[in-house]
Every structure is written in C-alpha cells, then in structure tokens.
Amino acid sequence: MPVDLELEAVLRPPQLPMSPYPPKVIVLANGKKMVIRQAVREDVPAILKSVHPCLFIERDYYDIVSARLYGELLAWYRYRVKSEYCLLGQVDGYLVGVVNGRLENEKVGMSYHTLAIDRGLRIGSHLFAAKMEYHMDYLGQEEVLIVAESPIGFRRWMIEYPLEMTTIPHELGGGDSYRLTRAIYLKAKPRLVVGDRPVPQNLLDEAEAEIKFADDDTIRERIAGLKGR
C-alpha cells in the first residue's frame, strides 16, 4: 500500500515513552506454564490470526470483544493509536490470551480488552492483572479507566478488585467507566497479581520464537465448547 510520508507524519499520533513490561511465568490450574510477555508490533499479524475466529462467536460477547481488539491491534500495527501496548499469554508457544490498553497521558491509563482464547483456567484474570500491573508498577500510572462488555468481565474486574465507579467517559463508550486507583491496586495485588520473574530462558525462547496458534475449529471449541458448552 503506498504511503505518503508527509501526510503520514500528521496522521500518526505522538507516542509517550513507555517502559517495557518484564515477562513473567504463571503456573495454571492444570499445571501448564503460561508466559506473559509484551508483544512487539511485528507480532500483530500472528495475533490477529488467533483473534479472527473469535469474531464469529456470540457466546459471552466474544464477537464484540474480539472485533474491537482486532481493530485496536490493527490501529497499533498501522500507527493510528497513541501509546498502545499489547501483552500476550502463551502456553507451549501457543497464544492463549491477549490483553491491550494504552496511555491516555503519563498518569492515566485506558484499558482496552481482555481476550482469553483458552478457557476455564483463569487466563483472562491473569492477563487482566498483568495489564494492571503494567500500568501501576512499570508505567507508574495513578489510575486506569476500565469498562466491561461482558458479564464475565464485570464480575472479574469491577467486582473482584473491586473497582471504583466514575462518570468519566471511557473511549470505548458504553456504560459508566470504572477506575483502578493505585490504592485499589495495592490492596488487590496480593490476591490477584501473581507470577515469577525472571522467566526461565527456555520458556521465554519458546514464546518469543513463534506465536503458535490453534486452527479455527480448535479455537472455537475452546471458547464455545465442542458439545455446545
């Protein structure tokens, strides 16, 4: 696709400096080890391949969440969003979950989406917690604005933390946004934020070597269930 560099400089939003998210590893309930690491822009095409089959799953609002996530990642890939980041969850190299967000300014973060591609292992909870950990512990922010699009998200974020309701508009639109403050984060951290660092080199190498993704049917089955579950 031809790019007008002069115009591109106008269209590309300025980026805030962002410290990297140091990878960590979590033992899941089934004993598998999930590496959570920060994606680089070049990872986006591979991530989108895993997100794509989710676009057509109505259950638990996967269609909305994955469609928006797809657009957000594409916007990041094509330099159309300010200060976005993406964290990946990988088990044996396979992508099992994605979270993303961005910085509104140095002090305020904007949480985007959490997509668990494998279910029943609290992968979404771990990834969302990693996202909050990134904003608070590594980007040094004071608050993160959050909305939920699914009842599961509402239960996991608004109730489990619990978050503080605000009238501040969230850029995703929808209902009132909620806020994770530093105080809320520090209180919730011992029971919701876990992970070991550094990640053993072999696990990290495996995760970074290739983002493996299951075929569409397997992804659909993991999310919606083979037997309609």
Partner: protein, 396 residues
C-alpha cells in the same frame, strides 16, 4: 411387590448448553434411554420428570405434560417430581414404587435442569431457595456458604485437612477428564491449585475454607432411565440392573436445629435402609456415586454410608482408597465435581453411571473390574432429604 430393574439408561453431555432448551435436553436424554432399552414399538406407561427449577429459571411449569407430548408418549401418565437436588433420586423412587406395585410395567424417569440460562449469582440464589425461608435465606445463606461452615466444623471435629479435600478434587477431575459426559473435562494439577503461590488466583477461596475447585460447577444437563419388572427385563437384550435396595430419609430443615451439624443422619438412615433392603453391607459395594457438590461431602458421605469410620474418610481419600482401582472407587464418573450438577438431573445421572458400570460397558480406564454392586447417594438441601440406591448386576 415385584423386583424392579433398569433396562435403559441415557445421558447427554453436561455443561453449558446454550443452544438447547430444558425440554430439548429432557427429550434427548429420554430418547437415549428409550433407545437403550430397545422397547421397539412399546411405549411407556408413565413418565416421572425430576426438576427443581423450571418454574423459576425458565418460567415454565408442567414440564412432564410437555415432555410426553414432545416425545409422542401420549397418553402416558406424567408427573414432575421436585425435591431440590434430590429430585432425581425421588423421581427414580416414584418409578420404582409404581413398577414394584404392579400398577405400571414400563416407566421412564428423566431428570434435567438448565441452570446456565442465568448468571452464576442468580443460579446460586435459585439453589438457595431450598434453605429455610425465615431462618436462613433472609440472612444471605447460600449452599456454598453452608458447605464452608460444615467443612470448618468437620475439620475441627474430625481432623479433615485441605490435603484431604484436595485429594478428592484431583481424583474427581482426573476421572471427569475421561468422561465424555462430564462438564469439566480437565485434570487439575496439585502445584497449580495448591502448592504454588499462583494458586491464590487459580483456586481462590469460595466459601472459607472451601476453594473454587472444592465446588461443583453450575451445569445444564439431563439423564434418563427406563424401569420395568425384573422378569420382563430378563427378556431384553441388555444386562438388567436390579434396584436391589432403596432408602430415603429426612432431617431438620435448618442446620442449627441439629444436635450435631456434622452428623448427616439422613445419609446414614437412607443408606442403611437401602443396604437392608438389598441384604448387603457397605463392604459389598464395588463402586459408588456420592453427592460431592462440595469435596467435603464426598468425604462425609463415605463415612456416613459406612465405607469408613467417622474421621477416616479424609485420610482414606488422601491414601487413594477411593480412587479408581482403590478399595472402594467413589465417583469414577468425576462426580458432581467434574460431571457437573444440573440439580434435577444429578440423582438420575448417578444411577445412569452405575448402570454403565454394572453392565461393564465403560472403557478400561473407567470400568471397575467385575463390578456387581453399586451405591448412589443423592443429597437434597443440606442433608435434609436424602435418597440412596443399591444396584445389582443381574447376570445373564
């Protein structure tokens, strides 16, 4: 009274079945049991439908009438049996008595529940409607809450530990992972849910001291049985399974009125009646399905039915005595813990699983070798209404 046998058994995979209505699930399970029975052109005389919550969850009543029409079983007699989570056991009892009395020859018993139609909170609230409406429910009690308090008392009195509960959880998930009908076909790992500091998220407290993986899931599902006189069953193709013993007992509605809340008297009495009727002892049982809505209940029931002395059930579980291949395999299906707990279906599903065992139809990694006698315990309320069945393989 006539001897009564089971000639047909069927179940649909439990789990979250968004695409199926309650009536769909009841019909699918019924058709599987009817096909399994090989009745051909014969129809059943009566249908008993076990269900706890259609009136609340689906805003639908008279579901037995609806089911017989759906299945073209008209003009069979049809009734709904509601007895909380013991509805399944009670419905089988009704079928048993109807055939034993000689009034009906062929009876279909089907249990089903569709609980995932509502959020987990509403499902928990629905189940809590079985608690006392003045003394318990208004104060916010839930069944997991009762389970937590019961566990704490049991730990204090009998020395049950989290290690014991963990043994039940790991065992039942391991077996559930092998069961194609199970809701949660996933093995758990001790490190992931117990040893690792990450377990605080993977396996959070649900109702102290019970954690997430000490609780059964909220499930959709249905299971069905066909009953007939033993003499007729002997002429059918499948190995008949005799309902050799049955028992049912009740206890106080509220837990605080019990002299000792850790004493599940209704379990003891129901099991004792079933053993006496069958002229068998706990030691004769080859395989059991106990109502493990919470891991502590499997341990407590294993003691109250007489498999182990009081205070020994937890140790027995930790020692592997209740595992597949152990002294008394309990919940080889995965139990409520892994198969799931669609409340109206559970009591029927337990018997379906034992029928599969006694007919020696299961794959080698789940089939208890040479199983001849099985026990089920279906636990209603918090032990205030319990049914127990002793089932016997009838050798061809």
């Amino acid at each position: 009274m006539r001897d009564v046998a089971i000639i047909g058994a069927g179940m649909i995979p439990f789990g979250r079945r968004d695409e199926d209505s309650l009536m769909d699930m009841l019909a699918y399970a019924s058709l599987k049991a009817l096909d399994d029975a090989g009745l051909g052109d014969k129809s059943v005389d009566a249908v008993y439908v076990a269900n706890m919550g259609a009136g609340i969850l689906q805003h639908q009543t008279s579901i037995a009438s609806s089911l017989v029409d759906r299945l073209s079983l008209l003009p069979a007699a049809a009734d709904v049996v509601e007895n909380g989570p013991a509805s399944g056991g009670s419905a089988v009892k009704n079928g048993l008595l109807a055939v034993a009395s000689g009034y009906y020859d062929l009876v279909l018993v089907v249990g089903g529940e569709k609980m995932r139609e509502v959020t987990g909170w509403r499902a928990t609230d629905f189940v809590a409607t079985m608690t006392h409406p003045q003394a318990e429910y208004p104060y916010g009690i839930t069944l997991p809450g009762m389970g937590g308090m019961f566990t704490r008392l049991y730990m204090e009195k009998y020395g049950v530990t989290r290690e014991h509960l963990l043994a039940v959880s790991l065992k039942n998930q391991e077996m559930g992972a092998l069961n194609p009908y199970a809701h949660v076909e996933m093995t758990l790992d001790r490190e992931g849910i117990f040893d690792s500091p990450h377990a605080v998220v993977n396996n959070p407290l649900a109702a102290d001291p019970l954690h997430l993986y000490d609780l059964c899931p909220v499930s959709d599902g249905a299971a069905a049985l066909v009953l007939c006189p033993l003499e007729l069953a002997k002429k059918m193709a499948k190995v008949p399974v005799l309902i050799a013993g049955f028992g049912q007992a009740t206890d106080t509605h509220t837990l605080q009125e019990r002299e000792d809340p850790t004493d599940l008297k209704a379990v003891t009495l129901a099991a004792r009646q079933a053993f006496e009727m069958a002229r068998l002892k706990p030691g004769d049982i080859d395989v059991a399905e106990l109502h493990d809505a919470f891991t502590i209940l499997e341990i407590a029931e294993s003691e109250h039915v007489g498999f182990f002395k009081k205070g020994e059930g937890g140790k027995a579980a930790a020692a592997g005595k209740t595992r597949f291949g152990g002294q008394i395999p309990i919940n080889v299906s995965g139990g409520l813990k892994a198969r799931g707990h669609p409340v109206g279906a559970t009591g029927v599903a337990q018997i379906v699983d034992i029928v599969f065992q006694l007919r020696h139809e299961l794959p080698g990694n789940r089939q208890v070798k040479n199983a001849r006698y099985g026990l089920t315990v279906n636990f209603g309320g918090f032990g205030n209404n319990v049914t127990a069945f002793v089932l016997k393989r009838v050798e061809p």
